[in-house]
């Protein structure tokens, strides 16, 4: 388990760094809470004043929709891809990849564990404050408790797999970043795409009815939307094995693709000097 110690080391370092920049940490917290609140307000206004009752047609009522928004805010550091590990990104852009290769670890899995460790650290710091504030808000803006204990468990496990899947997605983004000539553009587009399709902008169930089947099956739903459905109760815990299987399948596909792509691009590495 040689990867465990560096992971813990990174975790500890991230915790310490986060605490040191205390003002920034508080600011980040309040920002997250505010964002969650703004989205909740938007959802509530639509549900309350909307002409058509989408609560029935989408299978998601107002409480669930608002809870979803808060859950996204809590899981923010675990899942979305825009929080690419800055260090690694800067390293690629400065051409230090060559130096990383000198380390006796397979590059892909080294990066994988690094991303995972740093994300998990930040996630742990954010959960207690955001969750407690969200639960204390007045109706209908608050985060509702899970549908059942089993639902919570199912959601947690599913989220964990989704977490690993998202690290795999980031892996592919790293490889893309190594194609230096393309610059930021493709990465931004990919990030936006995955964010949208993972349901972090809007619960997938509120998207048009005709797209639901596709949205369910596409890989990014497995990142965030599907796991959260367990918490809300829109997916029963009994559906867990099926969903988990699909998540794992996507994860394997992404990990394999990422690893293969990286091997190929390492072979034709262009070092950007300066």
């Amino acid at each position: 388990m040689s990867w465990l110690r560096p992971c813990l080391g990174i975790l500890r370092m991230h915790l310490r760094n986060s605490l040191q920049y205390r003002l920034a940490a508080w600011a980040q917290l309040t920002t997250n809470i505010f964002w969650g609140f703004v989205h909740a307000v938007i959802i509530v206004v639509f549900y309350r004043y909307g002409k058509q009752n989408a609560g029935v047609s989408s299978g998601m009522n107002i409480t669930q929709a608002v809870s979803y928004i808060w859950l996204v805010q809590i899981a923010l550091y675990l899942i979305p891809t825009f929080s690419i590990d800055r260090e690694i990104r800067n390293k690629i852009q400065q051409g230090d990849v060559g130096i990383e290769l000198c380390r006796p670890l397979d590059l892909y899995f080294h990066w994988f564990t690094r991303t995972a460790a740093s994300r998990f650290g930040r996630f742990l710091l954010q959960v207690p404050p955001v969750a407690s504030v969200a639960m204390l808000l007045p109706e209908p803006y608050r985060l509702a408790p899970p549908a059942s204990l089993l639902s919570l468990l199912a959601a947690f496990c599913s989220l964990l797999i989704g977490f690993l899947l998202s690290c795999a997605v980031v892996g592919i983004i790293y490889v893309l970043l190594m194609q230096i000539r393309w610059g930021d553009g493709p990465v931004i587009m990919l990030t936006v795409l995955t964010d949208m399709l993972s349901g972090s902008y809007l619960p997938l169930q509120l998207w048009p009815a005709w797209a639901q089947r596709f949205l369910y099956a596409q890989p990014f739903a497995s990142l965030l939307d599907l796991p959260l459905r367990f918490y809300l109760g829109t997916l029963a815990p009994s559906a867990f094995p099926g969903v988990a299987l699909m998540q794992l399948a996507w994860m394997i596909i992404f990990v394999a693709t990422g690893w293969l792509l990286m091997q190929r691009s390492l072979k034709r590495l262009v070092v950007q000097g300066g």
Partner: protein
């Protein structure tokens, strides 16, 4: 009326302390602990127009702080300061238009664009008239030989080339006063010599007053007659370099190569002797005995092949001075 007058300038900084370790970080997240550092302690001096003054001291002594006060970007806690008749920080824009500052480690040129573009932007910032600008640019480009570099982006220049462009940039607006903070740091020998020659020339020919902070003693020796030493925020010496040398290198030495064997334990007039392989080193005090007397006595006492009269290097002198001043 002196160009620069500082009187009893004091400045104290508060630095935040963060205890190490995880618990320390948690404590630091809720309470702030700070430490007070006295950066400047009643600094007083005056500088006339046209002087070239060296300003030395160990790291953290207060050199950059003094320069910041004189250039108007730092307000001292107490004391008075007048530069060219103005209080620098009270009339920042007017003051800054007449001074130039060169930082050895930070560039004032824009990184991604050709050097000439930077110069033109500076021309606009300093509101230099077109004719003045052209003339000065030509002169400076000529002297510092940067004609071939004007079209190159700054990030592609070597350190020596960049330093030369920095100097041009800082002189375009014809400042009366120039502050140089470690200008020769990291430069190769040729560049250093060229830079020193250049600084000497503009000081002597154009009367630009200069204050040079540096760790390179050769800079000081070549350029400055007057030297100020600062340590722990206090001005410890302000006078001629020679005086400093006399105070801290009272000894000179004669290194003589022996043509044959010689056993000498003492020599009249010499402080002490050192016997090496086939060398003899004689230490003496120049104010007590002349070098030629020692040489004559030595030559009479031993067969000599070659000899050299040395001063203790300025570096050694400075190190000794810091030790004695407990810096």
């Amino acid at each position: 009326m002196s160009l620069i007058v500082l009187n009893e300038i004091c400045k104290t900084f508060k630095t935040a302390e963060r205890p190490p370790g995880l618990f320390g970080a948690m404590r630091g997240a809720f309470m702030r602990q700070s430490k007070e550092v006295k950066a400047l302690d009643r600094i007083s001096f005056s500088i006339e127009e046209g002087e070239l003054v060296g300003y030395i001291g160990p790291n953290g002594a207060g050199k950059s702080t003094t320069v910041k006060v004189m250039s108007g970007i730092l307000v001292p806690d107490s004391g008075s300061c007048q530069v060219m008749g103005r209080v620098p920080w009270q009339q920042r824009v007017a003051h800054v238009a007449q001074i130039g500052v060169v930082f050895g480690q930070r560039s004032q040129l824009w990184w991604d664009v050709p050097v000439l573009d930077s110069f033109e932007l500076l021309r606009d910032i300093y509101r230099i008239s077109a004719s003045d600008y052209q003339k000065r640019l030509c002169d400076l480009t000529d002297i510092l030989d940067i004609g071939g570099l004007l079209a190159t982006p700054v990030r592609q220049l070597s350190l020596g080339q960049r330093m030369r462009c920095e100097l041009v940039a800082s002189l375009l607006h014809n400042p009366r006063l120039l502050f140089l903070d470690e200008p020769t740091i990291g430069l190769d020998a040729v560049s250093k010599l060229a830079l020193r020659d250049f600084l000497k020339e503009i000081n002597q020919k154009h009367g630009v007053t200069m204050i040079l902070t540096t760790h390179d003693m050769a800079d000081i020796e070549t350029l400055c007659q007057r030297v100020m030493v600062i340590g722990h925020g206090r001005l410890l010496y302000d006078g001629l370099l020679d005086g400093l040398k006399r105070q801290y290198t009272p000894e000179r030495r004669i290194r003589a190569k022996l043509a044959g064997s010689c056993s000498l334990t003492e020599l009249p007039g010499a402080e002490r002797l050192e016997m090496l392989e086939n060398e003899i080193v004689v230490y003496f005090r120049p104010e007590q005995v002349q070098a030629q007397e020692i040489i004559a006595r030595l030559a009479a006492a031993c067969p000599l092949q070659d000899l050299v009269v040395e001063n203790q290097s300025v570096e050694e002198m400075i190190a000794r001075m810091y030790r004695e001043m407990s810096l």
